[in-house]
Symmetry: C2
Subunit: 139 residues, 2 copies
DNA sequence: ATATATGCAAAGCTTTTGCTGAAGA
DNA sequence: TCTTCAGCAAAAGCTTTGCATATAT
């Protein structure tokens, strides 16, 4: 959180309660929430918050590099405040997104040019069925 | 294309000129088009085509496993008729998506359970800046 | 005091849906 | 003939935008 305050100031951006709340919620969340999910959650402690502000705050946090879009196939975008190098296990039944760490995978990802393309970041999305949805599938 | 006809029939689905045109266009395309891009392209030879039909055709083709959504961070979905195992280089400046093959990467991708999660398919998205956007950046 | 951000409502897109007439098997 | 599908238009999301007010610095 201190990091956020510093980065905002450095970028000439205001540190507002709304941005703090959005960022804190994202930091504490494990569920890679969508803007709508964040809206519902942050509103509990800040009822005047508007959905447009969530979108603008996410855009600001992303500009600062504090937050990333999670590259999931779903109708809405999902966000993650974990900026460590990590990947995602995406359940096609319930939509849950779990983190997945793999040093070997990270090591294989190209760090230099591929046919003129300069890689910046890599995400591996593994789709499948999570443990609880499989249990639900067994009758 | 023959494969498509067979699979449609097996699934009790009609083989319509619209579906054929959408599938052929996707097969011949290198640009991982969005529904809108397909719409513009297929309409050139089939002016009566509607956008809703594109969506329905893509859904049908996906159900048959002939087409996949490309998991790109962008405002609209992108589609791919290349069902070989491959990954994507996504340019964050122009939105272009190029294919990327890597046997080593494929080999590291989990094929068995990870903490109860059963993997089904894997996509590696490498974001960065493509060759032509870098040139455009140099003044 | 000044620049920046919020909240609201409206607009803009993308995607889905219901229905009727048309076409495939 | 009977089922499935295309086209249309309307609806339903999701996301962005403009503007007036409020807030951060």
């Amino acid at each position: 959180m201190d990091d956020m305050v510093r980065r905002c100031r450095d970028a000439g951006m205001n540190v507002t309660p709304q941005r703090l709340a959005v960022y804190r919620t994202l930091l504490e969340s494990e569920e890679h929430p969508s803007p709508e999910m964040l809206y519902r959650q942050v509103r509990e402690s800040m009822p005047s918050l508007s959905l447009a502000t969530i979108y603008k705050a996410l855009e600001a946090l992303e500009r600062l590099g504090l937050v990333h879009e999670v590259n999931v196939i779903s109708d809405t975008k999902r966000y993650d405040a974990n900026t460590d190098n990590h990947h995602h296990l995406v359940c096609t039944m319930c939509g849950n997104v779990a983190d997945y760490y793999s040093d070997e995978l990270d090591a294989l990802v190209p760090r230099r040019r591929v046919r003129g393309f300069v890689p910046r970041s890599v995400t591996v999305n593994i789709t499948g069925v999570c443990a609880s949805c499989q249990q639900a599938g067994d009758h």
